[in-house]
């Protein structure tokens, strides 16, 4: 045993880097397909730059939701209500009454509604001992119902210029929405990998009984995870409201599926205890790049959904295969290092 092996990077690290490289490879392929199918567009550098921003902006709100979702899944849960929370937060923050408090009032309302719904989810799951799937499924239905009730099934236009300008402005040449996504991803990465909150998340999802007997308050942490997811939904609600300059009860439809799929493609274990923020981000980017690819080729969105489904299956199959061969490789190396 030498100091060198003791200081070696954790094995998980290598595995994650490889997976993310794989996702980068998929992105490169998708871009190549774009170049081949629409070479005339890609010959214009200004269009290419703009298109990258289009893809990133498209990924921004779902990316924020996916960060929250990744935490919940690593922590051993699932949040099916994210789309509904966004709709409720979006509708609540664009009522005439809320709009009268200005941009700050609208943002505050969206965040508080998101956290509050997360709190209800968390209490039901952690203290009411409901299965996460059931509790958040119920919330999915109920929150959209409440959103429809509040909005009277009408589209609520945002008359607030500050809110509306979030999606249309750039900071340092980069769209504000992309900055928000970047900030949430960085914060999420730090939270997961460098804080006690992240360590607890992995422990609670990996082995709740072990976490409990090590003195970790599993229930409180579970509650916090759903509140975190709710907070992310509140942020996403503002972003989507700004993009559409309106909110309605049907907004963010099926976001839960996209967010879960992106997290899984990014290497998050559905049974909990393992996952990465960077991988989840790549998962989101793969999806929005596919959407973009179909848009620039003027293809129907039905085909796009089929391709998405195929990509999810392919990514997971590939991961299983790679995971197995990789663990064998690591084991070999381990045995060489520690004879």
């Amino acid at each position: 045993m030498t100091a060198g092996t003791a200081l070696a990077k954790p094995h998980r690290f290598d595995e994650n880097v490889l997976r993310n490289l794989g996702l980068v490879g998929v992105l490169v392929i998708l871009v190549l397909v774009g170049i081949i199918t629409r070479p005339e567009l890609y010959s214009d550098p200004a269009w290419v730059k703009n298109n990258i921003f289009v893809i990133l902006q498209q990924a921004s709100a779902i990316g924020v939701v996916t960060v929250g979702m990744t935490f919940v899944i690593i922590g051993g849960g699932i949040d099916l209500s994210v789309g509904a929370i966004i709709a409720l937060a979006g509708v609540w923050s664009t009522t005439l009454a809320t709009q009268s408090y200005g941009a700050v009032g609208m943002i505050f309302t969206a965040l508080v509604v998101g956290i509050a719904v997360g709190l209800v989810n968390g209490v039901l799951i952690a203290y009411g001992k409901l299965v996460p799937f059931i509790a958040t499924l119920a919330m999915l239905v109920a929150a959209r119902g409440l959103a429809a009730q509040i909005s009277g099934k009408q589209t609520q236009v945002s008359a607030n210029d500050t809110i509306n300008s979030i999606a249309s402005t750039k900071v340092l040449g980069i769209p504000t929405l992309v900055w928000i996504l970047a900030a949430v991803v960085v914060a999420g990465w730090v939270l997961l990998n460098r804080t006690t909150f992240g360590r607890r998340t992995v422990a609670v999802g990996g082995n709740p009984e072990a976490a409990r007997l090590a003195g970790i308050n599993v229930k409180r942490h579970t509650l916090l995870l759903y509140m975190l997811s709710g907070l992310c939904c509140g942020i996403a609600a503002i972003m989507l409201t700004s993009q559409a300059t309106s909110a309605q009860a049907a907004m963010a439809n099926l976001y839960e599926l996209d967010a879960i799929a992106a997290a899984i493609i990014g290497g998050t274990l559905l049974s909990g205890g393992r996952g990465t923020i960077v991988g989840a981000l790549f998962g989101v980017l793969v999806f929005s790049t596919i959407t973009n690819l179909f848009a620039i080729n003027n293809l129907a969105s039905e085909v796009q959904n089929m391709v998405k489904g195929g990509i999810i299956v392919a990514a997971v199959l590939l991961q299983q295969f790679r995971y197995r061969s990789l663990t064998n490789l690591l084991r070999r190396r381990n045995d060489r290092d520690n004879p």
């Binding site: 003791a6 003195g215 060489r336």
Partner: protein, 502 residues
């Protein structure tokens, strides 16, 4: 007696590991052939080769004189080799009969013939001496011993000629082991061969005919008589002679104030009116059968279960939850390491700091560098092998996994350590090291409260012993005043299993 199974020079490699490296094994009809070896000696791999889970790379397997290479567990079963795994592979929500005939249900035109299966199950159960287990009962409603009987019935339903049993006694209480042995004797009386794996030498003496010893994937002794002296067997297993060694200890100063005071603790259906104390530096042992309420008691003291009545105080302060217990310096190594204590995919150091990582953190940010350094020191102290703290805990042997769990509490400011079956599934060498660690802890002023089914272990390690039966403490005495037979008599009188088995 004729040879039914003969393995010569069997080799099985996994990428980077020679799990089996020249195994010889010869099993005769009607004998109990014991397989002995430390954790990692290759016993599990060997079983899986026999059961058709793995295929040997080279070497010869002869089954009833014919070359044999089962391609699947079903093929091995059809050939007449049944395996009863340590973790019983029964389906909890199916009935006894459905489990017995799982995978080969009697059927006609795709419809299962439930009555035929039930009748056949009843016959098999009767032949095993357990006619009282109804075929329709769900597995989850059976006690551990009953589940094992069902596993055995499944083996018999295949008309097995060889039954491999992987540590069958590990899940059983003492009196159930007697029943297991009776069944094994009946099986061998009918010419069925049994390969019996156990860490417990006393059992091997009692039930075994011959012993084969494995070390590092090789057979170091084949077909020794079961009454071979312990010293010689342990020598073959470890490469060095060994015997249980409990060095004399000074013991705690009887005048110091108690660290832990448990007063009149009760939980309905589990234990009642338990009072005990542990002084700093004192090792208190609880002897009792599985089901005597000892594990539940330990978890309640730790704050993991709410007591109906009674109090737990550490240094005069009430313990009401695991959170307060850990904060005030209590630690626990639970009975089921894998399911209750470890994050198997996480590295050693994160497992070691699971209860103390907040202490290494600054305003919520983890101090992984300090954690690694501390874990490395602890690994050194515990002689963890391999010493690599980045390695996922899953890859360690049982004994080393247990060291990681104990190491977790060495890292904190632990003043009272609760140990539930600290050496279950731990090989002889690692056992001695764990004993040393426990002694060192006590010498350093830590109070230890330990639970074990192995009476010699409780007597050898502890200063004071409490004997539990059916949820009550029935005897308390200094360890020196008790001997193994006396404790066993106390523990056994009146069994919790009464009414379950004949």
């Amino acid at each position: 007696m004729s040879t039914v199974l003969e393995l010569t020079d069997v080799v099985k490699t996994f990428p980077g590991v020679r799990a089996l490296d020249g195994v010889h094994l010869e099993v005769r009809a009607g004998e109990v052939h014991c397989l002995l070896g430390q954790n990692g000696a290759g016993k599990s791999t060997l079983i899986k080769v026999l059961a058709g889970v793995h295929r040997a790379d080279s070497g010869t397997l002869l089954w009833q004189g014919e070359p044999f290479a089962p391609a699947s567990p079903q093929a091995a079963m059809r050939a007449g080799i049944a395996t009863i795994y340590q973790e019983l592979d029964l389906v909890d929500d199916l009935s006894v009969a459905e489990n017995v005939f799982l995978g080969h249900e009697p059927s006609r035109a795709g419809f299962t013939r439930r009555r035929t299966a039930a009748a056949a199950t009843r016959t098999i159960m009767a032949s095993l001496g357990h006619p009282e287990i109804p075929p329709g009962r769900l597995i989850k409603d059976l006690p551990a011993a009953g589940k094992q009987i069902v596993s055995m019935a499944r083996a018999l339903s295949h008309d097995a000629r060889l039954i491999v049993m992987d540590e069958p006694s590990a899940v059983l209480a003492h009196d159930e082991v007697g029943n297991l042995f009776r069944i094994i004797r009946e099986l061998t009386g009918n010419g069925i061969a049994v390969v019996y794996i156990s860490h417990r030498l006393a059992e091997i003496r009692e039930i075994g005919d011959r012993v084969t010893v494995l070390k590092d994937g090789r057979t170091t002794a084949a077909g020794l008589p079961a009454d071979t002296p312990t010293r010689e067997l342990v020598g073959k297993m470890t490469g060095r002679p060994f015997e249980y060694d409990f060095p004399p200890r000074a013991g705690a100063d009887p005048d110091t104030a108690p660290l832990l005071v448990v007063d009149g603790l009760s939980r309905a259906g589990e234990f009642a009116g338990v009072s005990l104390t542990v002084r700093p530096g004192e090792i208190v042992g609880i002897a009792g059968l599985v089901g005597s309420g000892r594990s539940e008691l330990l978890e309640t003291i730790y704050g993991g279960r709410r007591a109906d009545t009674g109090t737990v105080t550490l240094d005069g302060r009430r313990i009401t939850s695991v959170g307060t217990a850990v904060a005030r310096g209590m630690g626990m190594a639970p009975e089921e390491r894998k399911s209750q204590a470890l994050l198997l995919d996480e590295p050693v150091f994160k497992n070691m700091t699971l209860a103390s990582f907040t202490g290494f953190a600054t305003v919520g940010f983890t101090g992984a560098r300090d954690e690694r350094a501390a874990a490395r020191r602890t690994a050194e102290e515990l002689d963890l092998r391999p010493r690599d703290v980045e390695r996922p805990v899953r890859t360690l042997s049982g004994g080393n996994q247990q060291k990681v769990v104990v190491g977790r509490w060495l890292l904190g400011h632990t003043r009272l350590l609760l140990l539930d079956e600290p050496t279950r599934g731990v090989d002889v060498g690692a056992r001695a090291e764990l004993y040393r660690v426990i002694h060192d802890l006590a010498a350093g002023g830590v109070g230890v409260l330990l639970v074990s089914s192995e009476v010699p272990e409780v007597l050898g390690l502890s200063d004071r012993v409490l004997v539990m039966r059916e949820g009550r403490v029935i005897r308390e005495a200094p360890a020196g005043e008790l001997d193994e037979d006396a404790v066993l008599d106390l523990v056994m009188a009146g069994s919790l299993m009464e009414g379950e088995a004949a």
